[in-house]
Amino acid sequence: MNEREVVVRIEGLHKSFGHLHVVRGVDMEVRRGEVVVIFGRSGSGKSTVLRCVNFIEDPSEGTIEVAGIRLQGGHRTRRKRAQIRQLRLHVGMVFQQFNLFPNMTVLENVMVAPLLAKRGTEDEIRKRAMDLLDRVGLSDKPAEHPIRLSGGQQQRVAIARALAMQPDVMLFDEPTSALDPELTGEVLSVMKSLATDLHMTMMVVTHEMGFAREVADRMAFFHEGRILEEGPPSEIVSGAEHPQTRAFLDAVL
């Protein structure tokens, strides 16, 4: 695994919201095909780190590199805006609240970004979108409006929508936290299939320790804006070094 190229490289990342210093120096590398689970208490900065990777939040300080595009934090200049857009074309993101576009059908949701980015003819893009809907188990719903789907179905559409841009890395920001317990399974199994079938590079913020144990190559425990502990699930889940990590795991397991 270690010989594979680095897809995401985070160096010296800091993020403040006003006086609130949320991320206090994070370094991280994610290699192609790797699944990294990020976990920790709410407010530990884990979601913020994820949102800094594709500049949904602008890093205050530090460097983000995705698929060879290397960008500094700090002020967003006109030139940097264009570079951010280029970087984002390599990153897919799945949100806690799904954020599907309610003014479009399921199929339109999946097709809109590739169409706008001119990733092929409309027929090609439609075919790929239908394949992706099939992959997430929703090939029977292309003409439906998102609002008529359950939360689990919406989140699976959101995954297909992100995959449609053929990203190098997928970011999952608490993808099952807004779901009823009985609906998390369908989303997690789709995510698992991305890892096992597609060897997708994934950064997943989640408290689903079952998923982490089964799918993750690496787990990183965030505490007060830093990575306190990091390692393969087998080591972290059963033998965490730090008392904070152990306390947190005891609470969620």
């Binding site: 954020n99 576009f101 309610p102 003014n103 970004a113 359950s150 939360g151």
Partner: protein, 333 residues
Amino acid sequence: MDTPGPSQEPGLLERLELASARVPFRYKVATVWVAIFIVLGFFGAAAKFDLGWIRDKIGFIAGGLQYTLLIALGGIVLAVVLATIGALARIGRHPIAYGIAGFYVSFFRGTPLIVQMFLIYLALPQIGRNLAVEYAWLPDGFNDALILDAAVAGTLALGLNYGAYLTEIFRAGVQSVAGGQGEAADALGMTYGQKMRRVVLPQAFRVIIPPTGNEFIAMLKDTALISFLGATVANAEIFRRSQLVGKADFKNLEAYLTAALLYWGLTILFSYFQSRLEARIGRGYDRAAFAKQLPPGHGAQTTAAARAEVGAVPPPRPPADPSRLDGRTEGPA
């Protein structure tokens, strides 16, 4: 006073009350309206209301309808264009655009519409004349270039004035679109223009339509102010025409009442169109209505999301009527 015991027959008042309870509310309201018109008719007759005169002159007064409508349509189109630019400028936070839009909104909301009309109709020509005198290089005829027809000046003033109010309505509409929508568009690599056109504006549109309809209806009525600019008979709108004939025949009551009824009819007509349009646009978006249709197990999630969003933007719409729901269960068009 003896109170009726359980065995007693209900008294007259109680029987009336019970009979009244069986009459639907809207019938009672309709009766009140009819009564109002009867009373008004009585007063009209007592005041020697001249229906014959109205029959003679209504054709002339109603001939102003086309100008009233044309002015209002021109005004609302101009207002919508200005408001779209203004709202994007207020959202984009580019200092120059933001500053200009801020000045525009502040001035045109902060001064009376009638003053703006006179500024455009009577003050602009003076600027043109003075500039032409001061700068000889200006083309010939420039001194007359800023002399506008009363209807044109009035339409401009209406458009500018209502555009300022609509700017704020449009801005609020765009900002009411949930933040996650913009983030999702960003994350998919859309440009700012793509995000606005494909994601934000279509959703904002739904919020913007009802108040824009209200502004249009208000503007229909404000077209009457143009009569103060002294429009000629040839292109006079409703109110100016009623002024002209009412004054000539000393039939002010009949003339102005005719004008009032014409405006009233117009606003009722456009309110009806507006409610139809709102019902159409609401289709496919109404989260609360959709959530109700989902099986109970699936409901909780969606309803919570719906409440969050509906709470952020109280939809200024009448409550959903059952026929609309039926239409939706057939699935998206």
